[in-house]
Amino acid sequence: MTTLIDDVRGWRHDLAGCLHACMATLLEHRGVAPLETLGAAWRFRHLPGDIRREEYFYPRAPGESLLGALAPYHPVRSVWHSPADAAEGWAQVRAEVGAGRPVAVAVDNFELPFRPAYRDVHSNHMVIVHGFDEDAGTVHVLDAIPPHFHGDITLRQLTASRDSGNAAVHDRDMFFTDVHIGNRWLSVELDANPEDFPAFDRPHIRDVVERNLRGYHEPAQGDGYAGLDGLTAFFADMGKRLAAGETVRDELFVVAGAALANTAVHADWLALAGRALDHPGLTEQGRAVERIAHHWSAIRIMAALTQSEGLGAARFTRRAHILLKDLEQVLAGLAHEGAEL
């Protein structure tokens, strides 16, 4: 049997990773606009203890799906499927793709011949599968993360990557190793027809801006760090722990990566909204949010250097302070522009 689902396109944002890329592809295939959906919500949230060693990490509350956490203003969610073994893992993906639904699968880069990490570095990555040829023993894979790949690999290779133990072998296996890939795969579920999704119009855009502002300004609900106060507290905690000689690299790096992606994609959403409404002030705020993303680029690298180069608390705290001050300005600017909508 041979199946190839058409109209499966790659999507990539230079400051986001495989999670945004895969979710965008799956949403677009279902007729849902990716940036309008994935870029709407902008918030800070970190739940200590919820650091998962996967490139597709994104903070999510208990019971919340990965896609639901990315796009909480839209009727979308994702479902993790955890088959018992590799055979069941392929049977499930085969059935889904055979039914015309592309899926995202968790993989270990170490086993994928098109990844630079092939036979070199283990890492918990995510790619799209949208076809297979049982006579040839191949599967059709899309990976929008450089080097962009859209083609066939053998089912044996895909299975090895999905069933990998993802072992930490050497010092380059940072952040996303040492957790079994487990043959998991992710499906996207729409809880409304795409035509019933929020229109990308003035009321929706105003609502999104208001909800994001409330999220940053309201006290956090439950455990963890959230909003502007939560981010301030998180940075203070990181600074204290760094000054005390604790290892904060992994936690800070992973949190910064998710915040960077969320902030950068939202910046593009604001720019798109500003153009759609012919509202230059909103586009300008998009650029200001982009500046916050660029702070996160610096924080992320600083996190890694806390261990390899002994980057200390003073440098980190100074950068964090500047980010917070700029963030306060951006939130004030968005409040002004939101009121103008």
Binding site: D14, P146, P147, M174, R318
Partner: protein, 197 residues
């Protein structure tokens, strides 16, 4: 009467004393450098051998790669003393680990200090310029510590920073942003009519 140093040709800066990161390696010594936190490096074979070069008509002093020796400045707030003079632009050859932007602080002989933006796009392959830079060097392959990836290559960008104050520039402070790496820097002299003031 005003006294000032009149530079009529671009001034290539020698950044050797500030180099603190090895971002360029040869195929036989892949693990000698680590431009980014993953240990990736630019292929020396696809970059200038070092010395005076010209990019887009602008002269630069490009670092000479030497096994394991630092060849770029990873920004950490370093203060660079400059040949005092009136300049219009600071041209840089740089690359970033994920795109980022930050202020450089420009110091003038009259004691004034201005922040100006330094904006650098990602060095990562298949990633375009997001700040309108031009690609100074686009490589075809990327070095990993234990192999050469020939399916994609990184980029060094040519970017510029404006010198807006019409006074003598004497120094600049780089941002404390380790995502930004500077390989070369050139000061472009003020053009008429300002130079004749």
């Amino acid at each position: 009467m005003r006294t000032q140093t009149a530079h009529t040709t671009p001034t290539r800066l020698d950044l050797t004393a500030f180099a603190n990161n090895t971002g360029i390696t040869t195929e036989d010594r892949l693990s000698d450098g680590a431009f980014n936190i993953w240990g990736n490096t630019f292929p020396a074979e696809e970059l200038p051998a070092g010395g005076e070069i010209t990019v887009d008509g602008i002269p630069f002093r490009f670092p000479a790669p030497a096994a394991g020796a630092p060849d770029n400045v990873r920004c950490a707030g370093q203060l660079l003393e400059l040949p005092a003079g009136r300049y219009d632009w600071i041209h840089v050859l740089a690359a970033a680990e994920r795109r980022t932007e930050d202020f450089v602080q420009l110091h003038y002989t009259d004691g004034s200090v201005d922040p100006e933006w330094l904006r650098i796009s990602d060095f990562w392959p298949q990633t375009g310029a997001r700040f309108g830079e031009s690609a100074a060097f686009s490589c075809t392959r990327l070095h990993y510590p234990r192999h050469v990836q020939r399916s994609m290559g990184p980029t060094i960008w040519r970017q510029r920073v404006p010198v807006t104050r019409q006074r003598e520039l004497t120094a600049l402070t780089l941002p404390d942003n380790p995502a930004i790496h500077v390989f070369a820097m050139t000061l472009a002299p003020t053009t008429p009519p300002e130079a004749a003031e």
